[in-house]
Amino acid sequence: MTSSVLTRPDTPATRTYASYSRPLWQRVLLTREMAVIALLVAVLVWSNLNVPNFDGPLTLYFLFLDITPILLIALPMTLVIITGEIDLSVASVVGLSSVLVGLLHHDAGLSIPAAAAVALVVGAVCGAFNGFLVSYVGLPSLAVTIGTLALYRGIAVGLLGTTAVTDFPEKWTTLAQDRIGTSSYPVVLVPIAVLAVLFALLLHFSPFGRGVFEIGLNDEAAHFTGVNVERTKFWLFVMTGAVSALAGVYYTLRYGSARGDNATGMELQVIAAVLLGGVSIFGGRGALHGVIAGVVLIGALSSAMRLESLTVNVINIVIGALLVLSVMSTSLLAWLSALTSGRTNGALRLGKRRQAAMHHRKGDQ
């Protein structure tokens, strides 16, 4: 055994600091988030020109009203997915809070704000249950949230049966749909903007947020660097539950109807939007501006397709295809870059050939 065994296989020339730093414009613009934003702009411009009635005054208004619940839930969901977990029970919490608002207002005579507050608390409790099972008992979040998806939805439907409560005071249902002055922007954009800023600050500018990224990259390492992994995950699930309940209150007031099966299937739309926005399903990377762009993109596409009188199925096919493509694109890009640096272990070899195997064998003689 000579010392050539200890020679490491060829690696790129000693990495210098300069190799890592790219110009600011590249670091900002050549990211997945920017790709989604560019796509969003392209879709909006194209629709404005080509889709009849898209440039009408009602379009933006309805667009924002429609995407509000998804946008609200996507904010904490981003953090959850960045830690590598997932929460499929969000739509069921929306349904449950919707039912609670309906029941408390109609049968117990509470005012809407009081009913909404109770619904928020219940939503947080639901999230806490999820969080407890995932972080402290150590169960896989996929299994837990599939179970709580059925459980919470079941409680919602069980409480109300198949009837719907539709008797809401007009003051509140109109507030849910009010505009800011006479513009196309609904009033609900204000709380959304506030929440978005809060979450952005939490995720990108606070230690908690850095902890979230670390957990996603390697939760054992995060634990040893002092991040309280269990507590972080727990609070993330609580946040998701509370925000889902808020989305439920809005949904109820906007459609004027509290039903047990409200928002069935919404969790898939939220996850599709989050993944489209550049968050990696494996955890560890993502940014809120991409997610917001992803939600608006899906909303704009749906709106444009509806105005073109395309049916819901075509809209679903496009969203599903976008989801698959956006997730595959990460793998595709990784594969492409692996090709060019020849690290594909014998598969198609372009570019410089790695001499790793040869070196090693030579060293053995």
């Binding site: 009635n53 198949t162 890009l333 640096s341």
Partner: protein
């Protein structure tokens, strides 16, 4: 290292471009234009799509619209829920459709959306299932609710010998028309048929599989059941299909509102003795003409307004801005072959 990054960046841009092309590519507009050069645009929005009753009524509407030279469109959700109807009302408002003909999934929930559409200039006509009267401009009723309830109760009473347990298999729990009929049926039973007991009301949501399963559950849960009323065409068809293969065939009476085509086989094999309906095609036809009259300004929905409805003749608007089509018709073995809808 730099080469990798640049390649990834280039690939990202290419992917974005191709994704953008995907979004751009497939949408060739064959759109229903809002106001296509003076032609009246009428859009039908039934409770849900894929329901043969609404297929027939909307086809009647289409015939009427083509007769008076308008543009017809039919949209609808997959499931009969009120919040699923709202996006279609919104889209109609955006497109500037002249008239929207709706069968409502809920009396109040869609009122806000209708309000926005009305302020965008769309006339709202409800048919088959109403909203609350202050929400819409006109309601086309197929028959009086009292008449429908009475015919149902009379049929079941005749078939079970005026005493025993019965159950109702309804559609969606919030549907205005269903609840109106069920309330009147309960009143009628209390007043005229004291020996008949209504033990259960279950909801099939106008979904075939759900109605099928709910019928099975009803028969399991109430072994002494003697009759089932199903005032929904989807429900009665599914219940008949379950009954015809079960041991209760012939022992449990089934009646309700059904279409002749769906029920023919079960009337012939004895599962169902008789059932009722009206002609849904006429209902849609009348609704379309009423919509046109509203759009043209011939009527405003006031009581006493008269308008012409093509081959059905002339109609007068009644109280509460309601137009009545006629009376329910009873189908049985002797006359079912005469009808093809």
């Amino acid at each position: 290292m730099k080469f990798q990054n640049r390649l990834s960046a280039l690939a990202a841009v290419a992917l974005v471009a191709s994704l953008g092309l995907t979004a751009c590519g497939g949408n060739d507009s064959t759109a229903a234009d809002g106001s296509s050069g003076g032609k009246t645009t009428v859009t039908f929005l039934p409770k849900n799509l894929g329901n043969p009753y609404f297929d027939t009524s909307d086809a009647g509407g289409k015939k009427a619209v083509e007769e008076f030279g308008g543009t017809y469109a039919e949209v609808g959700p997959d499931t009969a829920t009120p919040d699923a109807q709202v996006p279609f009302i919104n889209t109609a408002a955006q497109q500037g459709v002249n008239a929207l003909v709706i069968s409502a999934d809920d009396p109040k929930a869609i009122c806000n959306a209708i309000g926005t559409a009305q302020s965008a200039g769309t006339k709202i006509v409800t048919f088959d299932s109403d909203t609350s009267p202050d929400c819409r401009d006109l309601f086309i009723n197929q028959a009086t609710s009292e008449g429908i309830a009475k015919v149902e109760v009379d049929q079941i009473a005749k078939q079970i010998g005026d005493s025993g347990e019965i159950a109702i298999l309804s559609a969606a729990a919030n549907a205005t028309n269903q609840n109106a009929w069920i309330d009147l049926m309960k009143k009628d039973l209390a007043a005229d048929h004291p020996n008949i007991k209504l033990v259960d009301v279950v909801y099939g949501n106008d979904d075939d599989q759900t109605s099928f399963d709910k019928t099975a559950a009803l028969l399991q849960a109430h072994p002494d059941l003697k009759g089932i009323i199903s005032p929904t065409t989807v429900g009665i068809a599914a219940a008949a299909r379950y009954l015809s293969t079960s041991e209760y065939k012939g022992k449990v009476a089934l009646t309700g509102l059904g279409t002749p085509n769906q029920m023919r086989e079960y009337v012939k094999d004895g599962t169902v003795t008789s059932f009722a309906l009206w002609n849904p095609e006429d209902l849609g036809y009348l609704a379309a003409y009423a919509a046109k009259a509203l759009v043209d300004g011939t009527i405003t929905g006031k009581e006493g307004d008269k308008f012409d409805a093509g081959k059905l003749g002339s109609f007068t608007v009644g109280a509460d801005a309601t137009v009545l089509l006629g009376d329910p018709y009873v189908f049985d073995k002797s006359n079912i072959d005469k009808f093809k809808f």
